[in-house]
């Protein structure tokens, strides 16, 4: 349902777009379905131009079947696995956060989702030296804490690491959609260096920005939520970016924690982790939804001054990995 815009193809100029809109053709779907001769008489645009535009639109917007082996080759070459900095968490995620997939962290307030997000951002920026886009919707990201984590983990290359993280403060879902569109456009244009090395996008938290629009008699909020999810999926799969999101927790039927944002949202992330508080600094992570590993794998984390990163002092502690299937 993409709208026709100037610049989608060289023949689609402003006047051509105007005459098309007068004839009632506004989206790509309508253009491609219409009879070209009929359109030529109605819009006074040359037949050659219309054919050229149609060809370009079909190439850009249709899905082409690919052979299995070539698809496999493509995945092997484009998918990257970003380590989170904590070996136990990496093991639970089968290597780390995958690009081309949406990973969700859910937990009660104060359970440490923001801490984990900040820690992963620092690790990816400083150790893996990739760019990170951090979208903050709650105002919880604290620069001081990021600096503290950086100092406690790497020590050197401080300013270079922080410059690889781009911060955006977003407080309503339409701004979020706008940001996702702009990011997509910037990556395809390849004009800014930041976007060409962008490998991780963190949205903390998705629930805070979308839940005010949900519920009641209005259905617009639901549409916005699904629109956001679609943009995130397109961004992650077409541009090989890993997306890490945080979500609320609500009471489920048997009083167990249930992800927020409703049933429709439950299908959106590919991997889902539950963060639970077990002590002042101890957290337990539970794997609730995963495409690769058995469910209910769990691991314990310790939130320290360096976030969740493995430090030499922590690897000495026993790794409690229980397989509860």
């Amino acid at each position: 349902m993409a709208p026709l815009k100037v610049g989608l193809c060289p023949a689609l100029t402003a006047e051509v777009l105007n005459s098309l809109q007068h004839a009632g053709v506004r989206t790509v779907t309508e253009f491609v379905c219409m009879d070209l001769e009929l359109m030529m008489t109605r819009c006074c645009v040359s037949y050659k131009d219309l054919v050229a535009i149609r060809k370009v639109l079909l190439v850009q917007f249709s899905a082409f079947p690919v052979g299995g082996s070539s698809w496999y080759e493509e995945i092997l070459s484009t998918t990257a696995i970003l380590s989170t900095g904590n070996s136990r968490l990496d093991d639970m995620l089968d290597g780390g956060i995958y690009t081309g997939a949406l990973t969700e962290l859910m937990g009660a307030p104060g359970s440490g989702k923001t801490q984990i997000c900040m820690s992963v951002a620092i690790h990816v920026a400083s150790r893996l030296e990739q760019n990170v886009l951090y979208v903050d919707t709650t105002g919880a990201c604290s620069g001081r804490r990021l600096q503290e984590m950086l100092q406690n983990s790497a020590g050197d290359k401080e300013s270079a690491a922080l410059s690889r993280i781009g911060f955006r403060r977003i407080f309503d879902p339409w701004q979020l959609l706008d940001l996702l569109q702009k990011t997509k456009a910037a990556i395809s244009k390849q004009s800014e260096l930041f976007y060409s090395k962008l490998k991780l996008m963190i949205v903390d938290s998705v629930a805070a920005v979308i839940s005010p629009t949900l519920g009641g008699l209005q259905t617009e909020g639901h549409a916005v939520m699904l629109n956001v999810s679609r943009q995130l999926k397109v961004l992650s799969s077409e541009h090989a970016i890993a997306v890490l999101m945080t979500n609320n927790v609500v009471q489920g039927e048997l009083s167990e924690p249930w992800p927020g944002l409703g049933r429709s949202w439950q299908h959106i992330p590919n991997t889902r982790l539950l963060v639970q508080v077990t002590g002042t600094q101890d957290r337990q992570m539970l794997l609730l939804k995963t495409p690769r590993l058995p469910r209910y794998l769990s691991a314990t984390l310790k939130l320290s001054a360096a976030g969740i990163l493995d430090l030499h002092t922590h690897t000495g502690q026993e790794a409690q990995r229980q397989l509860e299937v």
Partner: protein, 295 residues
Amino acid sequence: MLQEEREQGCIITFCSALDELLGGGVPLTKITEFCGAPGVGKTQMGMQLAIDVQIPSAFGGLGGEAVYIDTEGSFMVQRLEDMAKAAMEHCRHIATVENNREQLEAMANFTVEHILSRIHFYRVHDWVELVALVNILPEFLQQHPKVRLVVIDSIAFPFRHDFEDLSLRTRLLNGLAQNCIRLADSHKAAVVLVNQMTTKMGHSGDGQAHLVPALGESWGHASTIRVLLFWEAGCRYARLYKSPSREEATVPYQVTVAGIRDVCIPNNMQDLSTATKEEGDSLGEHSQRKRPRVS
């Protein structure tokens, strides 16, 4: 590519333990929530912060104005006057001791009348008025760019009584929270929300009831920083329950005629009894003693 601005100030309270807990004071551009049982000092905290935000920059404060939104009717001007007088005395004392000319000049603008005139007070009676007020606050803050603090005391009260549709309540609260954080971020102000407590029956085996902050689980995600105020053995404590940059910690504090202050150690009976007497004198306090006092 964007670097975070770390020169953001904090609103210092006069209680150094509390400032330490919060990492310098109540931070700007974030929502801080104070929850507690009745009588523990939440309104006092709100009033104290409304004065503290006005401390002139010569003393290390922000020199800003405050917006106080009262939903319960617990705001007492006489009490505020007492606190303002004490704050002014304290600052004057510092200025004369250090004999700093800048500070002495700043004192001219820091009198009780000036302090009271820089607090913009709103009394709202139900949730409709509250939501409407928060919606027009951005315009108000644009006309008064010196406002650095918005206190809503309390946010729980209008939403707890006679609210039939719980999903509507959740939606309104989420919307309110988003408006507040947007306000805080765009105007570089601190938003302080005062919340009440409710009882929750424990599911975890023992079935014991314990106090949790009101307004539900989803509200817990709204505030950036959450401080729980509670009583223990005759003393008031503040516990940092949720914060992105500080560890969990508990500090004691006390409410005196002058406002919120540190508890002086050594904690002998003498100090506690004088504190008790001063609290009895202070006006406008929620003076219901919920626990027997050790004296």
